[in-house]
């Protein structure tokens, strides 16, 4: 019954998507032919269909309906409630349903801004309808989650052991999908604009909000993915340059480049063609990421399933890339005529360098990720490309980007005279180097830490400097309020500055944990202690609990600092059915100065082998991620407080207090 309802939802979604694509294409061709009234049922039908499918899947999971194949494969009666709900997107079929739902949501939101006669919007809706046809088509065929098993098994194996370990599984995939799928919106508008032969900035204005929203979600998804890896996988790190991680990082890099280059076009009319390329690349990379993770082409933590979905995704990816690039080529004469910058030392010059660096970064990650596949394909040999390669490539690019984040935002548009650059940068440079000198004098001698700290302090000081310049003419007691107004008057610029500070914090955390972290392996008998930095870890005993879905064994480790008990850590081993090696769950204690991270290597009554890691300033990584996301959201909505209905895009400029607000 539930399967039937779910399948009806998928069918409704598929038909509605077809209808939407057809009707919107009509409205795009001849605005008189179709309008809101004609499109509305299709959009509503898509939302209703996707919602029905998702709810049906959840109901099937919650009611232990093992006649549904997806439930039989990814659920067990003993699975706890939270992970039952989460199972809906823990495997391939369900994740496609989630994708469809998110896409339907974005489509409805785009439709809300659609008015009769709006050809650009109609074209975008047609593209979104076509993309939805593909995903609903997948749900109806290759990744049908509602296949019926008859007779139904009495129980199932439960979700993948690694996926029922942490509450972050409830947030990380949906946020990532909100980011991935959100990039469909600017892509759809770009294709529509290309098809219309309109190379201007109208599509950028229309999609600015969506690009920022998708970017913020993607950022949150990537950061939470790192956090999940840190809290669950137990090897002590948060980023392994695993293909699955890279698959989420590449669209992020390109989307970041797009946000910046869109600002250049909105401001100076440049980079028209480049923006189309970037937005097509960002969308294609989300599809590539899905292909890499879901086809099993690279085995990885997330590639739980292999199915015919691989070729389907690859085909769609090639279709999208070839199709949109062909369209781009046909319209090249209309978009390749934008002006060029007068000087490289200017805001637009800095943004060009930003695009170069981010593009290069994405290219390096793409090459490193795909290279083993190609070598294996053409020579049959298996090679690895791992952390040493990526770290070596990422470090210089990352440092250059940090430098750009400090310098770029203070440069004026068009041309920056040396005197102006010096006037705006001298005090931030002093602050930055003072931070570096303070660290050196405090005894920190790791070059990476000092360098990143200098750059990060410079970024923060430069941003504060611009804010101070904006309120300079106010009497001192009104400056705070004036600063608030300045932030609201130009949310794009200041949101960007927030995001830069967030990224700088993340960079500091990465450098500090990488250079100053400590790792040791200890073996303790009951009652014995080990010393790690300022901490003493005492093994007091083992515990065992038989949970419905697993057997949990763990050790109790008392963490003391200066004789005072700060925490009792409980690293565990979870024995799931028929796995020789148990799945470990580390115990993490987060302090203001550092994290203590303990994972079990071996556990016997009266003796444990532990891996003990200390990560200084680890919380800064998550906090920096949060600040970055907040920056994106501020850019998106910060100005709402002041302007009510405003469809035009606020350009990214430093605020001038005396100037009246521009609408």
């Amino acid at each position: 019954m539930t399967a039937l309802v779910g399948r009806s939802g998928v069918a409704l979604g598929l038909l509605s998507a077809l209808l939407l694509a057809a009707q919107a294409a009509r409205a795009w061709r001849r605005p008189q032919a179709a309008g809101r009234v004609q499109l509305r049922p299709a959009v509503y039908g898509m939302v209703a269909g996707a919602l029905t499918a998702m709810v049906a899947l959840e109901v099937a999971l919650l009611t232990d309906d093992f006649s549904v194949a997806y439930v039989a494969q990814n659920h067990a009666r003993a699975t706890p409630l939270l992970f039952t709900v989460v199972s809906a997107w823990a495997a391939l079929e369900g994740s496609i349903v989630l994708w469809g739902l998110v896409l339907a949501g974005y489509t409805a939101a785009v439709f809300a801004g659609f008015r009769d006669g709006d050809r650009l919007g109609a074209g975008a809706l047609a593209v979104m309808g076509a993309v939805a046809v593909f995903f609903f088509g997948l749900m109806a065929s290759a990744t049908d989650p509602f296949q019926v098993l008859d007779p139904a098994p009495a129980d199932g194996p439960g979700p993948n052991a690694l996926l029922q370990n942490h509450v972050l599984m409830a947030f990380h995939p949906p946020l990532l999908y909100l980011g991935y799928v959100g990039l469909t919106v600017p892509f759809a508008f770009a294709v529509s604009a290309l098809a219309l032969g309109r190379g201007g900035a109208a599509w950028l204005r229309r999609t600015r909000r969506w690009s920022l929203l998708a970017w913020a979600f993607l950022t949150a998804g990537v950061v939470l993915g790192g956090w999940w890896s840190y809290e669950v996988l137990g090897w002590g790190g948060f980023w392994a340059w695993d293909p699955v991680e890279n698959a989420s990082f590449m669209p992020w890099l390109v989307a970041t480049a797009f946000i910046h280059s869109a600002a250049v076009q909105l401001h100076r009319g440049m980079l028209q063609a480049w923006n189309f390329v970037l937005v097509i690349a960002a969308f294609a990379l989300t599809l590539l990421g899905t292909f890499l993770t879901r086809s099993g082409v690279i085995a990885s933590v997330h590639s739980f399933t292999q199915s015919v979905v691989g070729p389907a995704l690859l085909g769609f990816l090639l279709l999208v890339v070839a199709g949109s690039l062909t369209l781009f080529a046909l319209r090249a004469d209309l978009v390749a005529t934008s002006p060029r910058p007068d000087r490289l030392v200017s805001r637009e010059g800095a943004l060009l360098v930003n695009n170069l660096l981010l593009g290069l970064f994405a290219f390096v990650v793409l090459t490193g990720t795909l290279y083993p596949i190609f070598v294996e394909a053409f020579s049959g040999a298996q090679v690895s490309v791992g952390r040493p390669f990526f770290d070596r490539m990422a470090a210089p690019i990352g440092l250059a980007l940090l430098l750009g984040m400090g310098v770029g935002p203070v440069l004026p548009w068009r041309a920056a005279r040396p005197a102006v650059v010096w006037a705006r940068l001298r005090w931030p440079a002093v602050v930055a180097l003072a931070a570096g000198a303070a660290l050196v004098l405090a005894g920190v001698r790791a070059p990476s830490v000092v360098l990143v700290a200098i750059l990060a302090a410079g970024i923060a000081a430069a941003a504060l400097g611009r804010l101070a310049a904006a309120v300079r003419h106010q009497p001192p007691r009104r400056r705070l309020a004036a600063a608030g107004r300045a932030l609201q008057r130009n949310p794009g610029y200041w949101g960007g500055q927030f995001a830069h500070v967030g990224v700088a914090l993340v960079a500091v955390a990465i450098a500090v944990t990488g250079a100053l972290g400590a790792r040791q392996q200890v073996t303790l008998a009951a009652g014995q202690s080990a010393v790690s930095g300022p901490f003493t870890l005492t093994f007091t005993g083992v515990f065992e609990r038989d949970e419905p879905q697993r057997l949990v064994r763990g050790a109790r480790i008392e963490l003391r600092r200066g004789g005072r008990l700060v925490a009792v850590l409980q690293p565990r081993l979870n024995q799931y059915p028929r796995q020789v090696q148990a799945v470990g769950t580390p115990a993490v204690w987060t302090g203001p100065a550092q994290d203590v991270y303990v994972s079990l290597t071996a556990l016997e009554p009266g003796r444990v082998e532990l891996q003990v890691l200390r990560h200084p300033l680890m919380w800064l990584l998550w906090a920096g991620g949060l600040v970055t996301v907040a920056g994106g959201l501020w850019a998106l909505a910060g100005g709402r407080v002041r302007r009510r209905r405003d469809d035009t895009v606020r350009t990214e400029l430093p605020a001038v207090p005396a100037e009246p607000t521009r609408a």
């Binding site: 201007g200 790190g237 070729p311 690859l314 005529t337 070598v375 791992g386 068009r414």
Partner: protein, 395 residues
């Protein structure tokens, strides 16, 4: 900002009085040069500090471990993993380094065992040379495009606009804020004549063509990559561990429900196949107690090798009786000598239960030499074998 950071004593220097006859006041000069001096001093401090306190070079063994891939993990190095294989490899690296082997010799040692796959850091030669060339080429191309992009912009027609009016301290410094796009569709009015459409279009078309060819190559490559791997096969990863656990024998996965099977088995107590299928099903689900009930009945009638092996495993996992488990597994192997599952279980029991690393190593060697193991399974077994040997060496 600068005005806020400036020492208050210097604030009056903004409007220099001309009492000194046009000569800048010493205060003004000081104000001007202060940041320069401070910057120079700070740079000196940082550079001196960093140069003085060279951080201790990383332990050679650790650095080598970071360059080797952990064979039974996911994308992480031997240095980062706490798996038993990784520990064994770390111990071995330590030994090799202590023996005075060079870095390259140590790496070669592991390449000889695992293949080039084990190197996380692909060497800039042979098949992985391109990996190092491509980013550099991309950077060069990008810089070239950027520089060319700017240079061509310097047409005499394009008016050079300096929006900055003098020093940055001026209020009008932000006059750049006036710039804004007006025409919604448009790129017109931005100075400079539009590029001749034909030429740019041809260039773009050529680029697209190259892109499509590259894509076709990618598609071809990926499909080739997909073909040789058996269904359910993995290059590496945690799945490899799971895959090697998953029913080497290929089990009867009939779609009859447990309850029905129970009923059938109860009605026909002598039909052992059915009972075995049911017991396997419970076993797969780690429902060991129920599985044990049925296996016992089977074993009462016939010493079925697989039932013996599974009961042995249950004995180890549930009752922690390694000795008894090993005995049962040995009996299973007597009846069916080349059963990979039983060998696997036996090796684990010997290694972790009996602490008999020598016997475990022998068992894993037998298992490894079996034909028909997949690459991933063999790697798993190799990992276990090394763990066993390392444990043996420790004793």
């Amino acid at each position: 900002m600068p005005s806020r950071l400036r020492p208050s004593g210097l604030a009056g220097a903004r409007r220099p009085p001309t009492l000194t006859g046009g000569r800048p006041l010493p205060v003004a000069a000081a104000r001007r040069w202060l940041p320069v001096v401070v910057l120079v001093v700070l740079v000196a401090v940082v550079v001196a500090g960093l140069a003085q306190g060279r951080p201790a070079p990383r332990d050679r063994a650790e650095a080598l471990a970071a360059r080797l891939r952990c064979p039974d993990c996911q994308s992480i190095s031997v240095a980062e993993s706490d798996s038993q294989t990784a520990q064994a490899i770390r111990a071995e690296i330590g030994q090799l380094v202590a023996d005075g082997r060079s870095d390259q010799q140590v790496l070669d040692h592991f390449v000889a065992r695992y293949g080039r796959w084990v190197l996380l850091d692909p060497p800039p030669r042979g098949a992985t040379l391109l990996l190092w060339v491509l980013p550099v080429a991309a950077l060069a191309a990008g810089v070239g495009v950027l520089v060319g992009y700017r240079r061509r912009a310097r047409s005499p027609a394009a008016p050079r606009v300096d929006t900055e009016s003098g020093a940055g301290d001026q209020a009008g410094a932000d006059a750049e804020a006036e710039v804004e796009i007006q025409a919604p569709t448009g790129a017109d009015g931005w100075g400079g004549p539009p590029a001749p459409p034909g030429r740019s279009r041809r260039r773009v078309l050529a680029g697209i063509l190259a892109g499509v060819v590259a894509l076709a190559a990618i598609a071809f490559g990926v499909t080739r990559a997909l073909v040789p791997r058996p269904a359910g096969g993995y290059v590496t990863g945690i799945e490899a561990a799971q895959a090697s656990q998953a029913s080497p024998g290929g089990r009867d996965l009939s779609k009859v429900s447990d309850a029905e099977l129970e009923a059938v088995v109860a009605a026909n107590p002598e039909v052992l196949d059915m009972r075995l299928a049911l017991a396997h099903r419970y076993f797969d689900r780690r429902d060991y107690r129920k599985a044990l009930e049925h296996y016992k009945i089977v074993l009462d009638r016939e010493p079925h090798p697989q039932a013996l092996a599974h009961v042995g495993w249950i004995t180890y996992v549930l009752l922690q009786r390694a000795d008894l488990a090993a005995e049962l597994l040995e009996r299973s192997l007597e009846r069916q000598p080349g059963d990979p599952e039983a060998l696997w279980f036996l090796g684990i029991v010997q290694l972790h239960g009996l602490k008999d690393a020598r016997a475990a190593a022998a068992t894993f060697t037998r298992l490894r030499d079996l034909p028909g193991l997949s690459g991933a399974e063999r790697r798993q077994v190799d990992g276990l074998l090394r763990t066993a040997r390392a444990a043996e060496a420790r004793r």
